[in-house]
Each structure stands twice: as structure tokens, then as C-alpha cells.
Symmetry: C2
Subunit: 453 residues, 2 copies
């Protein structure tokens, strides 16, 4: 036989069981999105390369999958570019299109392209795969689904409160206990201002974001290496060591950041979101975490991160507020806030905690044996009735040995195996075997639906 | 402002309304697949180019979207190939992967790759986009969804009978009246044998497949141009002019094709499928059509095509039996039968006949006005309760002018607009406005769910 074919590195097939479980996750999230008034859109897998390039930094440009042009794609290409293997610039000549790298840039493109039809505030959700030419490793794939909800065209913090309710409903329905961590970019800016290093905002946040992983001492070392003065580092300590309940933390932060206008604004915003959320009630734990920096260069207000409490797996959802989503396409003034669910990680948490409902393993409810032409015809007639009542039913298509047919029913995990043989055909009965306990009974044809329901 | 960004040529964005309608189609088909015991799989968007090349003919190879390799993709490429613009062979050097062109080849690859886990007969369905670098034109896109169900590893004609039942249930549920056309490749082979031109099977079927469009006379001309003798063409006429009921057509075909072994086998197969199907009953019209050739080089037995009766739009579904699906990957002996639904055409039929249910236009059931902080908080608390009862509800996030908020409710097509203003807040009531007839009533908070249900 020829070499076994395979999927490209970093990509996956999904088996029926995996699909059933993935659909369970997506259906749960989709239903919650619907209850909250988010509406689904889809964008094409490929975008014009000019839509994608420069949006994800230099490293991101390299990770874009680019699609070779059709026809004579070498026409007009400078031979010098080929000779010196200038593959980066050459790629932009050979390829006009690339695969979607995330759902945010296509969403921004969508809003600008369709701005005459889009009603603001626009609450959209989108569940589609994205592609990144990353080095594949455990849990990191070159093709994976993103699952995003965003509202654009509204500055109200009610959107943040709603998104936290949405996160809470999704994870409550999935049965995953979570902690939602909250911060505000303006608080981070206030901290940088307060310790006299406003220009080092990025350095500070990148460093303190690691505090959970590497500890305060290592963070101090990193801050020093990034050029922060010893005074600034010392001034940071009381802020990083803030503790207590949510209200206590907010009060302490407000006091510490009082000298900073932007810091004070950040604390006010955070308080509005926390108070509004707690007033409505939340199953999740809600933690204020001033070290949370997640995608800092992108977010401008609220920053959200969700972690599973019972699994060591990093964040399973997150998001935040951003200004000027569509500015990259020349349409200014549209800000928004959004969240994203990590389907692969949620899958891993549900697997690890054995939280997938039994229904995700279910397939056909009843498989009918095949004893020959007349028996099969009678079975098909009954199967048709069962399907009309919403019961998934099928006939073993071939007249194979009974052992083989039962083996198939077993392998497929079918809960009931039904037999219309010669005697059943004569009597108008069916023998129904419960595959779980091996019991079987012969019943009239019109009793099958209720027996296997 | 910068130039308006757009989707690449031949690709589309789907708006919330379009998504809702597309989901209606896919959900309907998916539910029927489930009732018939088909199980969903997904394969990656990209396949190794060697998996795809040579599977769709020379023309198909050109229509594959190829993905430029990462890193120095010029390394090891023969400069002569570049100099002479040998773009076809060069593409295979620059690109290791391509985008999926259909769902059949990836399915074959899936079966071979996972043959140790797959239980035969394997009934799978798959609903995913495919990509073709075709010239875009009305109704033809470079990205479109395919929606396929196949059963492999069973030769039984029960599979055909089931697939016709499945087609019937899908279109009954969608409310589209259809005719299902049936033929059998073995009948076509028998005809070619009978008229003494067994080697011209492809020419004959390509020509007679056009009979509906161009008429018998033009078909005769084409057959002559393809080198058929006048005797052969004359011998073909009685076969092409067979008419009557299904049984009559089968009897006439059986008589005419009696001299041909393969033709006789084809008529027997067709009779089994037709009789089995009619015994179960069918909403659709079932037509035997010996001119139906659809993808002849691929199909080896039953050929199926479904046309909408009330719209001029070509076929909206079709399929057939094939031998040796996985032979291209070195695993012989796995035959199957499958069907495919054309989602875009089904969408067009439902639009043209105004058959989309109203629910596909529905979004949020009730939008709450925003009168300020306290009112919004009370609204959010009620909204939370409504969502808990499965009612999609939302708050207008900003405290905008009432005219703007009502205008938004109107534009979104929300059926109810709810107001908790100062007096309602004091009374524990809500004013609910029916957007369809403009009527409004003020009711206690706990009566809202039943009022808008």
C-alpha cells in the first residue's frame, strides 16, 4: 500500500465523538450569545493580504498563511528579489491573499466595508477557524476555532457588566467553576505615572503580568533589567501587594492612585463594573488583579480574563475594551469591548473534569438488524415512523452474520438493537435488546417508540 | 479616508440575517442526517498538496488554492524553473499545502488515515467550506459550503433507499417541492454496449446528459461529431424516448437492455431502489431518467439528482454510488454511496419562493430602554430573569435620546420595546410597547415574560 496519507502538521481531523463534544461547547456558547442579543456573522477564510499585513506586528506578518496567486504569478516580479531570496517582500508579490489570522481584523474590515448597513451599537459574534503558521506544539495548532463576541459603537460600561454576565452564564451552563479576573488599562497607566515611569508602561505591565508565574523578586529583577529605577520598583510594591475583598482593594487602589488622573478614572470604571456585576449576582469568583495586563497594547479600558478553578490550564476566556477598532481601515471613532472563548482549552477542561454530558456520546438510538429483503423493508417502514417522532434510527444495511451486526451496534455505542426476523415479521412484533444490560423483550411494532425513548 | 477594504473577489461576508437563514438550512439538514444515523466529522481547511493534486483532473489542479511555504521557500528551487516561468511545476515546489477543493477527497484521506478506528459501514456527514480558484460569476463563488453525507463500506442498495428517504425528509422539512431523478451508470454502460459503442460510453453520456437543454436533434449532431455511427445514433432513439410510469419505464428498459448483462444488472438495481423507495412512500416526485449522467466518471451505480419543481435553478442536491473511494490512497475495496446538498442554491430557492420561516428574521425578543443608572440596573436585573427563561433580551447600553433608542429597536426588528423609567422604577412596573402595532401597556415586572412570550 502507498504511504498513509495524513493531515498537514499542526492541523487535526475531528472524529464524530470529538465533533459532538465540540458542538456541545459551541452550541452552549451560541445559545448564550443569542440570549444576550449578539448576532452571528461569517467572513471568508481568505482576506486580501493588505487587509492582514501590518496588523499583527512583524512576527505576525511572518505567521500569516499566504495564498499563491493563480496564473503567471511570476509576471512583473523583480528577478533581483528572487536571486537574493528576499522571501518576505517577494511573498507580497506572489500572493494577494492570506488566511484569516484572527476574527478581530476581519470584523473591523466587515464594519468598515458594510458601515452603511451596520446599526450601532453592533453586537456581533463569530465562530470560525483561524490559521497561524506557528511552530506546532502541545495544545497549539495551526488551525483552531475562535469564538468571539464584541459590541462596537458604545462606550457604556453596561457592556462590560453584560459581558461578565455572559461569561458567567456560559461557564455555569458548561458546569466549569471559574474565577473572572478584572483590571483596567487606565489603572496600569496610573501606576506607571505614579511611580514616575509613564513611558515605561509596556515594560512595567509585561513584567508584572508574570508575577503569578515567577514571583515578586524575579519581577523586580526584570523591571531593573528593563531600566526602571530602584525607587520606581520600590514604589510599585504596595500596589502589587494590595489585598482584601473587592471593595477593599478598590478603596486602597483609589487612595494610592489619587494623585493620578488617569489612574483614578481607571479605578472608577473598575468600581462601576464590579458594583454593577455584583448587584446582579455572579456564580463565578470575581477578582480584581492589577497585575493582569493581557494584550495591553490593544486594550484601553477594562481587561478581563477567565480561569478554570479546578484545572491548571491558563485562561479559557478573556477580552477587554479597545478604542478605535476600525481606525486601521481609516474609519475612526468606533470603540468597543469584546470577549473570546478558547474552545480547545474549554474542551480540555471538560475532558479533564469529565463534564461532558452523556448526550454528547449518543448517536443513533436504535439499530435494526438486517435479516433479509422482506424483514429489512418492514424495518425501514418502522424506522421511518420513529424518525418522524424525532428518534434517530437506522438499519444495518447489509444482510451480514448476526454476530457482526451486534458487534457493530456495540462498537457504535447504540443503546438499543432491534430485530425484525421471520417470526416478528409474521406477528407484527419487534424484539428489542437493551445493549446496556443485555435484556430483551418482544413487543408490538407500535410500542417500540415508547420502549426505547 | 483610506480606500474601503473589501473581501477578495469571489468571496462573501454573511450578515446576521443571512447567517440566520443559512443556519436554518444547515440545522435542518444536520437534524435529518442525525435521524438517519450519519455522524459528523471535520477535516482541516488545508491538506497536503500531494493529497489533492491529480484528484480533480488537470483543470482541477489549476483551480486549487496553494499555500506558500513558510521560511525560505525558494531554497532548492531550480532557477531554470523560475526563469522559464514554469509556474505549474514551480507551484508544487513553493507550496506543500493547498485548500480543500471538495469534501470527498478529504473524506477518503480521513478513512485511510483513521482506518484502524473507523467502523464500517461508516456513515459520515460533513458541512464545511471548500475553495476553488474558479472565475467568479453569478452564483459561483471561490468559497462555498458543501454539505455531504456518505456511507462507505456497504454495497447494499438499502443505502440508496435510505438516502432517497433522507432527501425527501430534508426538502419536505424545508417546504421545497422537488423531483428526484434516478439513473444507474450500469444502464448507461448497457446502452453503449447495446448500440455497439461500448468504448464511447463517456461521449454518449456527456451528449445525452444535455437532452433537456438542447433537444434530441442537437444531441444527435453532437453524437455524430463525437464519432458515433448513424446506426448507433438511430439505435439510441427508442431508449431516449422511453416514457410512461416508473414501472413502465423499468419494464421497457429491461426489455430493450435484455441483450446486455451490465445493462440488465443496472435495471435490476434501479428497480430495487425504486420499489423500495415507493413502498416507504415519498413526498417528492421520483423520475427515472436514462439521460442523467452527472459526474459519470466517478459514479459506478445509482445516480441521483434533485431539482426544485417551483424554481428554475438547476439541481439543488445530487449524488450516487462509487467504487473504491479510497483506492487513490492505496486502500482498495471500500465502496460507498453519498449525496451532497447545494446550500447556496437551496438558499436561493427558499428566497425566491419566500419560504424562510419568520423565525429566521427574529433576533432579540425585547430591548430595554436606558433612562439612567438606576433604571438600567433594574432593567438588567429583569433581563437576567428573562434570559433564565430562555427569552433573548438586552439593554440599550447608552443613555441616549429616546428617539434614537426606539429607532434602534425598529431597525433591529425587535418585537418588544420595554421601558423602566422613573415612575416604573418607583412602582415596580414596566411599560411594554408592541413594536408591530404600536400599542403599549404598563404591567408589573413579574408579568413581562408572559406578555412578550
Amino acid at each position: 500500500m502507498a504511504q498513509k496519507p495524513s493531515t498537514p502538521k499542526g492541523t487535526r481531523d475531528f472524529s464524530p465523538l470529538e465533533m459532538s463534544r465540540r458542538n456541545y461547547i459551541f452550541d452552549t456558547i451560541r445559545e448564550v450569545f443569542r440570549l444576550f442579543g449578539y448576532r452571528q456573522i461569517e467572513t471568508p477564510a481568505m482576506e486580501n493580504l493588505c487587509t492582514l499585513m501590518g496588523k499583527y506586528g512583524e512576527e505576525g506578518d511572518k505567521l500569516l498563511f499566504k495564498i499563491l496567486n493563480s496564473g503567471d504569478y511570476l509576471k512583473g516580479v523583480d528577478p533581483a528579489m528572487i536571486e537574493c531570496h528576499d522571501t518576505g517582500r517577494l511573498a507580497a508579490k506572489l500572493c494577494d491573499r492570506g488566511l484569516r489570522y484572527d476574527l478581530t481584523v476581519p470584523f473591523a474590515r466587515f464594519v468598515v466595508q458594510h458601515r452603511d448597513e451596520v446599526q450601532l451599537p453592533f453586537k456581533r459574534f463569530q465562530i470560525q477557524p483561524v490559521w497561524r503558521a506557528d511552530r506546532p506544539q502541545k495544545g497549539r495548532y495551526r488551525e483552531f476555532y475562535q469564538c468571539d463576541a464584541d459590541v462596537v459603537g458604545s462606550d457604556s460600561l453596561n457592556n462590560e457588566i453584560e459581558l461578565l454576565q455572559l461569561e458567567d452564564m456560559v461557564f455555569s451552563r458548561l458546569g466549569i467553576r471559574v474565577a473572572i479576573k478584572l483590571n483596567n488599562r487606565k489603572i496600569l497607566a496610573g501606576i506607571a505615572e505614579l511611580i514616575g515611569e509613564p513611558d515605561k508602561l509596556v515594560d512595567i505591565t509585561v513584567a508584572i503580568d508574570k508575577i503569578d508565574k515567577i514571583g515578586l523578586e524575579k519581577v523586580d529583577e526584570e523591571l531593573a533589567a528593563r531600566g526602571l529605577s530602584q525607587e520606581a520598583i520600590t514604589a510599585l510594591h504596595p500596589i502589587l501587594q494590595i489585598d482584601g475583598t473587592g471593595t477593599e482593594r478598590l478603596d486602597k487602589l483609589a487612595a494610592l492612585l489619587a494623585p493620578s488622573e488617569i489612574g483614578t478614572k481607571g479605578v472608577e470604571e473598575l468600581r462601576t463594573v464590579v458594583d454593577g456585576t455584583m448587584a446582579l449576582g455572579l456564580n463565578a469568583e470575581l477578582d480584581i488583579d492589577v497585575s493582569l495586563a493581557r494584550g495591553l497594547n490593544y486594550y484601553t479600558g477594562t481587561i478581563i480574563e477567565v480561569k478554570a478553578l479546578d484545572a491548571e490550564i491558563g485562561s479559557i476566556s478573556g477580552g477587554g475594551r479597545y478604542d478605535n477598532l476600525t481606525g486601521i481601515f481609516g474609519l475612526d471613532g468606533i470603540s468597543g469591548v469584546g470577549i473570546s472563548f478558547g474552545a480547545d482549552r474549554i474542551y480540555d477542561v471538560l475532558s479533564a473534569l469529565d463534564l461532558f454530558p452523556d448526550s454528547t456520546a449518543a448517536c443513533t438510538r436504535v439499530l435494526f438488524a438486517n435479516f433479509g429483503t422482506a424483514e429489512a423493508a418492514a424495518s425501514l417502514a418502522l424506522i421511518k415512523k420513529l424518525r418522524g417522532e424525532g428518534i434517530a434510527a437506522e438499519l444495518y444495511p447489509d444482510q451480514a452474520k448476526m454476530k457482526k451486526q451486534i458487534g457493530y451496534a456495540n462498537a457504535m455505542g447504540v443503546p438499543f438493537f432491534a430485530i425484525i426476523g421471520e417470526s416478528e415479521l409474521a406477528d407484527g412484533t419487534v424484539t428489542v435488546k437493551n445493549m446496556a444490560d443485555g435484556s430483551q423483550q418482544t413487543i408490538p411494532v407500535d410500542k417500540v417508540a415508547q420502549t426505547i425513548a
